[in-house]
């Protein structure tokens, strides 16, 4: 029987939402929660970086200006290569989306902070926004031609019904996979970090023989943290890349 009483570690406690400033109007709860607070923080940070980068734009850019220009070029290149010149109208939207998600992911990696993108309600809202935008833009631009998206050209007529059914299902399941990909990566990454951090605490609380072993999960935590930094960037990139590909479908249906 284990005699030590390791502190109870609950890896999903970090995702609980609690009000920071309670606001109640009538029967409705408008409280500013920790989730809302960190979203505002991400927005403020992205505005700050852009504002400092754009302040007194010099011919030879300083560090902040170089960073702002590089991020602009990075997202602009992505939008241009995925949607062509026609998609550059949506560049401001894609740019804001990228920096919102990236900063939410990165701020969430600071210890004791809160990861906004680990809440399915946030990622689902973002993904549904993209989905509805694609449908509305597609119908507004092309009318009924938009539905050519579901009818690939050059498919033999006898398997066409099957292909159309598959295309419709794959189109409708987009917001699901789009949102769950970001949410699951953030959630699983933070739970894994917490579990390995918990191993360190458990081993340090155990008998003297096991105390030295605590270095192993600690090293693992550092490695996982580096991986999570990569994942935080990659998932923001993938989310925005998929957004560009979906916008491309709206702008050029039947192009595949």
């Amino acid at each position: 029987m284990a005699t030590e009483s390791a502190p109870a570690i609950n890896p999903i406690e970090q995702f609980s939402i609690h009000p920071v400033i309670p606001i109640h109007i009538g029967h409705y709860d408008f409280s500013l929660t920790n989730s809302g607070l960190y979203m505002l923080l991400a927005v403020a940070l992205s505005c700050l970086v852009a504002a400092i980068g754009a302040r007194g734009a010099a011919g030879v850019p300083g560090r902040m200006q170089a960073m702002a220009e590089m991020s602009y070029e990075f997202v602009a290149g992505m939008v241009r290569s995925a949607t062509g010149e026609a998609g550059m109208r949506f560049f401001p939207f894609v740019f804001s989306l990228f920096f919102f998600i990236l900063l939410c992911n990165l701020v969430g990696l600071i210890p004791f902070s809160f990861t906004v993108t680990s809440q399915i309600v946030i990622t689902a809202a973002l993904a549904l926004m993209v989905f509805l935008a694609v449908v509305i833009i597609g119908v507004a631009e092309h009318g009924t031609d938009f539905f050519k998206l579901f009818v690939p050209s050059g498919v033999p007529i006898y398997i066409l019904p099957l292909v159309v059914a598959i295309e419709v299902i794959s189109f409708l399941s987009r917001p699901l996979s789009h949102s769950v990909r970001l949410f699951a990566n953030m959630l699983a990454g933070h739970i894994t970090l917490n579990v390995f951090g918990g191993f360190v605490v458990m081993l340090l609380g155990a008998s003297a023989i096991f105390k030295g072993l605590a270095i192993l999960p600690f090293a693992m935590t550092i490695g996982l943290y580096a991986l999570e930094l990569l994942v935080a960037f990659l998932q923001a990139y993938v989310f925005v890349m998929l957004t560009c590909m979906y916008l491309n479908d709206a702008l050029h249906p039947g192009g595949h």
Binding site: N10, P11, I12, V180, R181, A184, N185, L187, A188, G189, I191, T192, V231, L234, Q235, Y237, V238, M241
Partner: protein, 75 residues
């Protein structure tokens, strides 16, 4: 069956999916290297696609891991 035992067995079964994603990521990088060694000049242009494929493939393993974690900690 004892529900707690069933929970842990389910979590273990769900974790098999991460191994399947491992096969996918291995295939991805293996084929990338295969192509990269044949035509090293094209490597830089395809790096973005490699990372994109990695993220999309890895996400499926993460889904499996998520189910495993949810069974372990949330239920």
């Amino acid at each position: 069956m004892d529900p707690v035992a069933a929970k842990y067995i389910g979590a273990g079964l769900a974790a098999i999916g991460t191994g399947a994603a491992g096969i996918g990521v291995g295939t991805l990088f293996g084929h990338f290297l295969n192509g990269a060694l044949r035509n090293p000049s094209a490597v830089d242009g395809q790096f973005g696609r490699l990372i994109f494929g990695f993220a999309v493939t890895e996400a499926l393993g993460i889904f499996a891991l998520l189910i495993s974690f949810l069974l372990l900690f949330a239920i």
